[in-house]
Symmetry: C2
Subunit: 311 residues, 2 copies
């Protein structure tokens, strides 16, 4: 993180002020990145909550009002709404403004947003890889991006200076920045984020539907491993629906590999092949160690949540 | 937890002093449950570590030495070793002693251990549903069982007084206790613990083997969800090999259901069925809430591990 504390932008417009948008506002305030933060949300309840928290200087229920005179505009709604949103704001964008986003899929976002970006405005697709299972403006906090990676996926046509500015923005929000091809990003996130969420949602659904095991048993005995999956499976349903609808190809590809491997594992269990099981279970330990060494997870056992008994 | 602080047993023998065995020793000390705690481990390294931590009053490299004069004997090695271990200690068990275990599978353990239990000794199968991803005598701590459930699976032949004593033991270790049929236990744990571990091991293996995505990318961008799975996939390989070899039927059954559900989800993604995805993703949130309300997980976002950046 640079020590620079001058505002990078005059006005920043956050279109969407849920977990990510509100955390960006908090992080921008912490780093003094904007002279004015404008927030947009469709629902009056969200605007009301945001207003009482106070992370924005102006709040709007119309996106074109939020983007007026903005130097930096960030799309931060579920990605299914990006195309319409870009179309709506296009005539109101300030010449020279930078438009960016925080969507979890990049090829589809480039496909949906780019056609609407007027000449003289620069679109820099971005994805901060950070989050929690909570949603809404009250879920945000300034440290969300600290030590996490933000991936930028400019196309060959993207303005290089605009990419540098967005890079600086994210670094000052606490992130590390990586540049990647959009298609590659979608595959990397397919395995590191989208497939894990799909699997988590699926196993929680399976457990709920098993007629021989009661819901109460699933809950009581969840400390055996299941509870870990329920955290991810509590993530925002709209956001994740849009991710799967918009990263179909990459998700189906990694899912195919996952299923293939799972079938082999199933066969090893059926035939009592202890060696195959042991070998896989040994190999996977090393990856955990590397993630901890890279500062991407805590070394504390059970993620440090030792005491969770009822008060 | 009762306020009773009289020792429940004269001598307790822990056969196996890894994460669970050593945590039991710490919890017994905390509650004053035993006048003498004897530990057994096969490897000199484990005994050496246990000795320097000091949670046992006596340490042995032969199980028959540890069980001599013990009132309570606990099998706490990986379950694949239980049969041999029971056979070895049988002639040395004190009349009236209670033998129990901490194995994650109960039908197979009853099958392997019961035939070796001499007349006048009582076998009470038990499974404390608690743990971390770490292993070995240095991983143990006294609070591991606090607020977690311990399931006892006595058969109709099991001595009722012995069951009551084991129940008291676990309550004084901080646990809540549930009585269950062994076969039902194996199915419940199949979905709440064994399948989650299998899935976690599998996805970590799949990610490691994807040739289009580098290991370094998987590690850097793991905060998108993948890192959660690596915790579970860092669990002890021998213990988990033995679980899958000994709970084959139940694991294959719940795995079949999981795969069936996953196939339906795959189809929803392929055909762009956003409604099906949204419905599942909404339903799974409620289970998370119930688990938190039941005191089985922390309400803190990201399990409370907000700051994991490199020092």
């Amino acid at each position: 993180m640079t020590m620079d504390s001058r505002p990078l932008f005059g006005k920043v417009a956050l279109l969407g002020i849920g977990l990510i948008g509100s955390s960006m506002a908090h992080a921008m305030r912490r780093a003094g990145l904007a002279a004015h933060i404008a927030g947009y949300a469709r629902s009056p309840e969200t605007l009301e909550k945001a207003n009482s928290i106070g992370f924005a200087d102006g709040l709007h229920d119309a996106p074109e009002m939020a983007v007026r005179e903005a130097d930096f505009v960030v799309l931060a709604t579920p990605i299914g709404a990006f195309g319409e949103l870009a179309k709506e704001i296009a005539p109101h964008l300030k010449p020279g403004a930078i438009v960016s986003d925080v969507g979890s899929v990049k090829s589809a976002v480039i496909r949906d947003v780019s056609p609407h970006i007027p000449a003289g405005v620069h679109f820099v697709p971005a994805h901060p890889i950070a989050g929690t299972e909570q949603s809404g403006p009250e879920a945000g906090f300034p440290e969300l991006f600290d030590g996490r990676w933000c991936v930028l996926t400019p196309t060959p046509e993207t303005n290089a200076q605009a990419v540098e500015t967005v890079k600086t923005f994210w670094r000052r929000c606490g992130s590390e920045v990586e540049i990647m091809d959009a298609k590659h990003h979608d595959l990397v996130l397919g395995i590191t984020s989208h497939l894990p969420h799909l699997i988590a949602y699926n196993i929680v659904g399976t457990a709920a539907d098993l007629e021989q095991v009661t819901q109460s048993e699933v809950i009581k005995f969840s400390a055996g491993g299941f509870r870990d999956f329920t955290r991810i499976a509590a993530s925002d349903p709209t956001m994740w629906r849009d991710v799967f609808l918009n990263n179909r190809e990459a998700v189906l590809e990694v899912l195919g590999r996952f299923t293939e491997d799972l079938t082999a594992l199933q066969r090893a269990i059926r035939w009592g092949d202890g060696e195959a099981l042991f070998n896989l279970f040994t190999r996977t330990r090393a990856i955990r160690r590397s993630i901890i060494e890279a500062g991407q997870d805590t070394p504390a056992p059970n993620f440090g949540r030792l005491r969770t008994r009822k008060p």
